[in-house]
């Protein structure tokens, strides 16, 4: 990106010595029916000019609340004490009008959900221009601000910026909106940028673009950055220092490398150990952190992590451990009374975590020893096609186009095997699933389940076959009926299939135990369970009829990493115990590498690469796979800094109007580097799927290995 030529016409800031932001003993509490919620409890940190501080922690740990306190954007019901000094000036106690002069001018903020972050009724250009005008009334004309807004949009990588500035937010994709928000954030050359989970809602390829953009923004403005995340991967390559938060407090702080290599607090260890690694080929033991974060209304004395800590001893319950220096480093602090013992173990990082938490690699199922070709095919798709008509008009609908959602895909899943289906949102993953679950004759091609072609099924057979196939959805809350007890939820499929009352009453508690829940909880309602537990309930329900194939649609993407690890482990155990086959749809490639035996990469309704996981991940042949893989951050600061990113430009083209020849060519970096006559091949000929290695196919005319991990 050519960024440096854009000049910031802001008078040079007075040089301030010391940190841009200094937070001391910050406390924030909210009134609630159950008593005061102590959301932040004695938080201290600082950010130096030009420095990137990462704040990591589970949902509810107080990351957002503490940052909103800095911005002065907490609701008036919040009680805030302590000190927040920005460039030496105290912010706590200042009124809204005073703070509004600093907000957006000196400190700016990027929020998590770009879809709702922009006002729907004003153009993107106007909203960016407003950020400039509000601070420089009179000094900058409206026209100049509008021009500047276009420059900023261009700077954040929106193509055709002058035109796009006139668009309304709903005409922008999520990634583009986040860029627009970042444009706003840097419009006044701030000294501090706070980014609250800026990439959580985005696709991996877009996440990589946005992170890159934040780095650029930091270079251009020289601002200090606070980046909040729950994903340790995201900040590994970007942050200089890291602060881990738990229950409203910092429990570990230090330089990024220190924390990733020598974590000294069990919670940090757990967090590190719970992330599946994209770069680890052999089976890895994932650390689930059991239990839930404590309620912040009345914390018991002692270490708040104690109920979940594998190292807990009696002394932990006496007093809350303070942050103390560890390893003799004056930068590295941890709040645990047993840091010394952790330091004494030989293992480092995630391995130490597995050791301390006692996590083990889940065993392979028996059937995995049988060569793939000799196992039965559970699900087979052969050139399956699904198209949607695009209609226009309210009264008289007329067809104006066709969305080629799934454009001829072929794969099979064999007994005891997991196939991961990955790709950006909108590439047709869900449509594929729906086609399979519908058990109807597809528009084109063939689907067969357990050797039976679904188009030949009568309704009775179709009903029977449904027993062999079940599904778990992404959102555990939305997929469970809130008015049914857990017992009813799990029993429902069995009732439908005419199981006897006795059989059901025997089976339900059994299923509960199978997914790691207590049968005593059967009479409760879904609302009383946490996200991870609800997902377990969803799995129990899916297993009720003893299926052979379970279709999982993003089963862990709505969960916190520590909870996610538990669910992944459970899925692996079940597969091994029950000999299940999984079709695992996910956008998180690290999870797929961990759980899948084979992976299929989809792009715009087609499979561009498919094969055995290690072969595809270690030696990807298709440029799209390479780009996807390179976009995934690895929770290892050293590796991460050395990695070279392949940044895909732009967004997914519309599936109503896919590019000719190779569908990926509009974003293909390899294509762009080819001589014109070779480029013509990509434009004119659709690349066929060709065998690249044993059990590894890719569809690219110029397929070549490129290692990206």
């Amino acid at each position: 990106m050519t960024t440096s030529e854009i000049q910031f016409d802001v008078p040079a800031d007075p040089v301030v010595e010391g940190p841009v932001l200094q937070v001391e003993d910050l406390h924030v509490s909210f009134p609630s029916e159950a008593g005061r919620v102590q959301a932040v409890r004695g938080l201290s940190y600082h950010v130096s000019p030009g420095e990137v501080l990462g704040i990591v922690g589970e949902s509810g740990s107080g990351k957002s609340v503490s940052s909103l306190a800095v911005m002065g954007l907490l609701p008036s019901s919040a009680r805030i004490t302590g000190s927040i000094k920005f460039q030496g000036r105290e912010l706590i106690g200042r009124g809204d009008s005073e703070l509004s002069k600093i907000r957006g001018r000196r400190i700016s903020m990027v929020f998590q959900d770009p879809l709702s972050a922009l006002t729907p009724v004003y153009t993107v250009g106007d909203q960016i221009a407003e950020a400039i005008l509000v601070h420089r009334k009179g000094a900058v004309s409206k026209a100049a601000a509008a021009k500047r807004a276009v420059e900023l949009l261009d700077l954040v990588g929106i193509p055709n910026a002058a035109e796009r500035a006139k668009a309304f937010p709903h005409e922008f994709s999520g990634g583009m909106r986040q860029r627009a928000v970042i444009a706003m954030a840097i419009a006044n050359d701030p000294d501090l940028i706070i980014a609250d989970e800026p990439t959580t809602a985005l696709d991996v390829t877009v996440q990589a673009q946005v992170l890159q953009l934040l780095e650029t923004a930091q270079e251009v403005t020289g601002a200090g950055i606070v980046i909040i995340t729950h994903d340790l991967g995201v900040v590994a390559g970007f942050a200089d220092r890291l602060m881990v938060m738990y229950a409203g407090r910092a429990v570990e702080k230090g330089k990024v490398d220190e924390i990733y290599q020598q974590p000294r607090m069990p919670y940090t260890l757990g967090l590190l150990g719970s992330i599946p690694r994209l770069d680890v080929g052999e089976k890895q033991a994932l650390v689930p952190i059991t239990g839930q974060p404590p309620s912040l209304t009345d914390l018991p004395p002692g270490c708040p992590f104690a109920p979940r800590c594998p190292m807990v001893v009696d002394a932990c319950h006496t007093a809350e451990p303070p942050l103390i220096e560890v390893d003799g480093s004056d930068e590295h602090h941890a709040a645990c009374i047993r840091t010394g013992e952790i330091a004494a173990t030989d293992a480092e990082g995630a391995e130490a975590a597995a050791e301390i938490f006692g996590a083990e690699v889940v065993e392979e199922p028996e059937i995995a020893k049988v060569p793939r070709e000799q196992r039965d095919i559970v699900l087979g798709l052969d050139h399956v096609v699904k198209e949607y008509a695009v209609n226009k008009g309210v009264v008289f609908k007329r067809r104006v186009g066709t969305v080629h959602a799934v454009a001829g895909i072929t794969f099979d899943i064999r007994e005891g095997e997991t196939l991961g289906l990955v790709g950006e949102s909108g590439c047709g993953k869900t449509t594929t699933l729906m086609e399979i679950l519908g058990l109807e004759k597809p528009m084109g091609g063939e689907i067969s389940v357990l050797g039976t072609n679904v188009s030949s099924l009568d309704s009775k057979r179709r009903f029977e076959i449904r027993r062999d196939m079940s599904v778990v959805f992404q959102d555990p809350m939305a997929s469970l009926d809130p008015r049914l007890t857990i017992n009813d939820v799990i029993a429902e499929p069995m009732q439908v299939h005419g199981y006897s009352k006795d059989a059901i009453n025997r089976r339900v508690p059994e299923l509960m135990r199978l997914v790691g829940l207590r049968p005593e909880q059967l009479s409760r309602y879904p609302g009383e369970f946490s996200g991870g537990q609800r997902q377990r309930i969803g799995i129990a329900r899916a297993l009720a009829l003893e299926p052979k194939l379970v279709v999982l649609d993003e089963p862990v993407s709505a969960l916190d990493v520590s909870i996610q690890a538990g669910v992944i482990n459970l899925l692996e155990e079940l597969k091994s115990k029950l000999g299940l086959a999984y079709l695992f749809v996910a956008h998180d490639l690290s999870v797929v590498r961990h759980i899948a035996d084979r992976v299929a990469v989809m792009y715009l309704g087609k499979i561009v690469e498919i094969g055995e996981v290690d072969s595809v991940f270690d030696a990807p042949r298709h440029p799209y796979t390479q780009a996807l893989l390179s976009a995934i951050p690895i929770p290892d600061p050293v590796k991460e800094r050395q990695r070279e990113r392949i940044l895909l430009t732009g967004d997914l083209p519309s599936p109503a109007n896919p590019p000719s020849g190779c569908r990926f060519r509009t974003r293909c970096f390899l294509h762009a580097s080819l001589p014109p006559e070779k480029q013509r091949t990509c434009i004119e000929l659709e690349p066929p799927r060709e065998v690249q290695a044993p059990d590894h196919e890719a569809a690219c005319h110029f397929a070549q290995i490129r290692q990206v991990l």
Binding site: M71, L73, D96, S97, S100, K101, I102, R103, G104, R105, S108, M109, F111, D113, S116, A117, L118, T119, P120, V121, Y122, T123, E130, A131, V134, H135, F168, H170, E171, V181, M184, A185, N188, V395
Partner: protein
């Protein structure tokens, strides 16, 4: 966009026709004007009853009568009343009387309703919010004639305490009033205040409830936070970004609000002795007069549907997401 609005307009015209046809049919089928005539004492001669029957086209089937009446309407002739006066004579004046009342009432209702709703939302769970909530619920559950009567009593009280008849609540002007146009205007204003208030209060209560909830939705929104993060003060962000967005769902309400108003207006007109369209409808029904009933229905339908169409225009103007497609 213009095409869309045009199509909607055509839809609405069709709807207005259907509504009028139904009213006409219902009135024709149930009214018995000849029966009324025959019960007069002394009964009119048979010849004039026959003539009346012919005049009223009672020999024709109802749909045909409707077509006859409608073809007159298209040419500006709404037929004659049962007392044999052309409807057109009175129509203009009555429409003027009603619209003066309704338009003023609704304008005040919308303005203050929106304002009250916003204040209520911003000060949620504070005293002013509770007060506004109570005020609205009481008003919404009070029948118009009770409210009108109460306001009359209040106005009487005020007049008594000042010692002069400032607030006049009978009729729309003083009969036989002499004076220049300015004095005329003053006289009409004196008549206008209490009835307008009767209408506006209900409207304020109605709009403020909806505005409050739509504003509350917006208050917790991310974009409002973004606006503040840019450096807008809370107040400015609330009005420029919050209120502007919270107005969108209100657009559709305006149409229904107007419908409610026209119905409620009947009572208001009767209470204050205004000879407007509502009053006319009551007169028409009690005289078993199909033409008056159909004319007033047509007027109401046109009003409601026009305001529906206006709501469409407003909606499109407020929400860019609609505008594009």
């Amino acid at each position: 966009m213009a095409g869309f609005l045009l199509r909607r307009l055509v839809n609405y015209v069709v709807l207005a026709l259907v509504a009028t046809f139904l009213a006409f049919t219902l009135a024709s089928a149930t009214f018995d004007p000849i029966g009324v005539l025959q019960q007069r004492n002394p009964p009119p001669p048979a010849a004039s009853i026959e003539a009346k029957k012919r005049d009223l086209h009672l020999d024709q089937p109802i749909p045909q009568r409707f077509v006859t009446w409608m073809s007159g309407v298209v040419q500006g002739d709404f037929g004659r009343t049962i007392t044999d006066r052309p409807i057109t004579d009175e129509l203009g004046r009555r429409i003027g009387v009603s619209l003066r009342l309704f338009l003023l009432g609704i304008t005040i209702g919308i303005l203050f309703g929106v304002l009250l709703g916003v204040v209520s939302a911003i000060r949620q769970y504070k005293f002013s919010d509770y007060f506004a909530t109570l005020f609205s619920f009481i008003l919404l559950s009070t029948p118009v004639f009770v409210l009108g009567t109460l306001l009359k009593m209040g106005a009487q009280g005020i007049n008594d305490s000042i010692g002069s008849n400032v607030l006049i609540f009978v009729g729309e002007e003083t009969p036989g009033f002499q004076g220049n146009w300015f004095e005329h205007l003053g006289d009409r204003l004196q008549h206008l205040i209490v009835p307008t208030l009767t209408i506006a209060l209900g409207q304020i209560a109605y709009y403020s409830r909806y505005q409050r909830s739509s504003m509350l939705d917006v208050l917790g929104s991310d974009f409002l936070r973004t606006a503040q993060a840019k450096g807008l003060t809370r107040r400015k962000a609330l009005f420029k970004h919050g209120l502007r967005t919270a107005l969108i769902p209100m657009a559709t309400l305006f149409a229904f609000g107007f419908g409610l108003l026209v119905v409620g207006g009947t009572f208001t007109e009767r209470i204050f002795g205004w000879f407007g369209m509502g009053d006319w409808l009551v007169t028409g029904i009690s005289a078993q007069d199909t033409n008056i009933t159909a004319t007033v229905t047509l007027f109401v339908a046109v009003c409601v549907l026009f305001s529906g169409w206006l709501a469409d225009v407003l909606y499109a103007a407020l929400d860019p997401r609609i505008r594009v497609n």
